[in-house]
Symmetry: C2
Subunit: 120 residues, 2 copies
DNA sequence: TACAAGTATAGACTATACTCTAATGTTGTT
DNA sequence: AACAACATTAGAGTATAGTCTATACTTGTA
């Protein structure tokens, strides 16, 4: 599929998809037998990758971290041990974030209590 | 206290503190009776605010969101209802983030399973 | 008093992550 | 053939959040 279809299927603009391509997150293919243009062609895996990018971004992962995740998912040059090491590291960082968010919840709940007691 | 002490107590550089001052997150006071300089003086509340800024930043809040939090905490011009509305909104967004993080954990655990089954 | 250390300001610079524009070429439809 | 729609590239611009430099003035210490 060409970039326009990929964009429609993922809801990510062609501009941003090209930015991800330049950043190395996804890889389109150019067919050698087509000489008239140099259009990129994308497969179903790329749709999945873009969905992962969107989800991972929404929880605060950087492009660099997402790039590591995609490698752990698709890169055939990495060993199982390397992949697991990256995935475990990400799981730990997620747990840390959840912990911090829960602390922030407590703090904000304290604010609420203060607001209610100081003003009523 | 002057900026250097504030910096030492919070671990935030003077540069960054001045950036927060410019961004409206904190407010130093200048004493009119001192004519020889125009140094900013900070109080204990500012220390607390900077600690809040650091914590809130670590969970991914933007300067703008933190500014709202500080208003809900310290601004005397806001009504109780307005403050509670902001705090409740932040609590909801935190819950949403925790939910997304848990989904991401599930996804990464799936990756782990795939890595283990595909390669052993 | 000399001089190091502290303070303020403007503005330049960096990094991340886009977002957009312009120029140019290709493809598809009528 | 004409023309809209699509594709690529380079490079400029934007927003966020700092980070650093240069200049200049003030304060504290030997």
């Amino acid at each position: 599929m060409l970039i326009n279809e990929l964009s429609k299927r993922t809801g990510i603009t062609a501009h941003t998809i090209r930015f991800y391509e330049k950043s190395g997150l996804i890889k389109g293919k150019r067919y050698e037998n087509v000489k008239s243009n140099n259009y990129y062609h994308y497969d179903e895996d790329t749709v999945e990758k873009l969905e992962l990018i969107r989800d991972a971004k929404s929880v605060g992962f950087t492009i660099h971290e997402i790039s590591q995740l995609i490698d752990a998912w698709y890169n055939n040059k990495m060993t199982v041990t390397e992949k697991l090491s990256i995935l475990d590291e990400k799981l730990l960082s997620i747990d840390e974030r959840i912990k911090q968010l829960k602390e922030m919840k407590k703090l904000i709940s304290h604010f609420k209590k203060d607001v209610l007691t100081d003003n009523c």
